[in-house]
Amino acid sequence: MQTFPKKRIEIMVEAPLMSRVLEILDEQGVSGYTVLPALAGKGKDGSWHRDGLVGRVGSMVQIFCIVDESRIDEVLEPLFKLVSQQIGIVSVSDVRVIRAEHF
């Protein structure tokens, strides 16, 4: 079955920052994105766990966005600007999709 190569951008960011990241993705005109809840984690800025939290601080979300290779840099640029001064990480990987026109 024919599939088409795309890039999968994955962003781990603090819950309060989620809307910021999504705004950036919208500005970049990506075709779509998905947010997954994270349960716990650890990084340079310490570890966290979602259980029992009342506020949004101290929990993180994972946002992934499948984009065309050609768009990758212009999308990463602003994301990096944001995340670099925040708690979080950005990674990119290769995926293949079925409906190219969808992305």
Partner: protein, 321 residues
């Protein structure tokens, strides 16, 4: 006028505080006891809805007087002034960066609604009345401190953002508090009667379960504090509430609040936020380290106020009145 030890005992042996203690112990003992996030958020929503609604209903019942306006003004002023004092104190006594200091300062100008609730329970136990509009004061005190904190940090780096301000004022906890207050105001006694079995009767019990969860978080915060906080910063987490309390008592005295309301204004000044402000700071002051202000507010000041502070503040409110 009950003496301070009686108040302290009554406070420390209330189910509420004991469940909070259980949570701290469980967390320090690394038990896997935990409340699902959704349940904790649901209880928080319930508590804010109930306290707001009851406040509005009681204002509807007892009517508005000039002290309401005065209390609001005083609250807003205190919420704006306390961060400046806190900031200076931190600048003098710690080596924290300007941004970290400003962020922390913002937390202490704002309020902890749970500490407020704990005081209302202590007042009930002590049979001291208070004005329903103090809930409105609590809501009014949540945000000014944030603006001041951003202003304090501004000279440092400028990373605030118009969007942030709107988000700060429309954050969920304020909307539900004020909204429920207004609804209580509109529906009054009748409305309160119709849902009393939900917002009044189980309230204290839900607060116990919620404080168990807060204890678990505070316990983890305490551990965080042990690692990330230098003594002078921890010290700040203890004496700053007392400074805030002093200002609250003075203001309450000046504008002639009742004993109960005075105690509540005091606890509002003494308490530090750990919900609204941290979220705002992550947005507006990302350089400020949550690993400092969160454990300080929730691991040091919150337990201090809940256990030691409340009886002291209540005692002083009675003594000064």
């Amino acid at each position: 006028m009950s003496d301070i030890f009686a108040l302290a005992i009554a406070n420390l042996t209330s189910p509420m505080i004991l469940f909070f203690g259980l949570g701290i112990v469980a967390a320090l003992a690394k038990s896997d006891l935990s409340t699902p996030e959704a349940v904790a958020k649901g209880m928080a929503l319930y508590l804010m809805l109930a306290i707001g609604f009851k406040g509005g209903a009681s204002v509807a019942a007892h009517g508005v007087d000039v002290t309401l306006a005065l209390a609001l003004v005083a609250g807003i002023a205190l919420s704006a002034v306390i961060p400046v004092i806190a900031y200076r104190a931190l600048a003098l006594t710690t080596d924290l960066s300007r941004v970290d200091a400003a962020a922390i300062a913002g937390h202490y100008g704002s309020i902890s609604i749970v500490t407020f609730l704990a005081m209302t329970q202590a007042l009930q136990t002590a049979g001291v009345a208070y004005e329903g509009y103090m809930v409105a004061v609590a809501a009014a005190m949540e945000t000014p401190a944030i603006i001041v904190a951003l202003w304090l940090a501004a000279n440092g780096t400028r990373s605030s953002n118009p969007n942030a301000v709107r988000e700060i004022f429309l954050n969920g906890s304020i909307v539900i508090l004020v909204g429920a207050f207004v609804i209580g105001l509109i529906t009054g006694e009748a409305g309160l009667q119709s849902i009393a079995a939900f917002v009044v009767d189980p309230f204290k019990g839900v607060l116990c379960l919620f404080l168990l969860d807060m204890g678990l978080i505070a316990g983890r915060g305490l551990q965080g504090a042990r690692h990330n906080l230098k003594p002078p910063v921890v010290g700040f987490g203890i004496y700053m509430p007392l400074i805030g309390a002093a200002l609250g008592l003075l203001a309450g005295k000046l504008i002639g609040l009742s004993v109960g309301s005075m105690a509540l204004l005091t606890v509002l000044c003494a308490s530090a936020s750990y919900i609204a402000v941290p979220a705002a700071m992550r947005l507006a002051l990302p350089e400020a380290r949550p690993s400092i202000y969160l454990p300080l507010s929730i691991g040091v000041t919150f337990p201090f106020n809940l256990t030691v502070g409340i009886p002291i503040y209540l005692y002083l409110a009675q003594a000064m009145h």
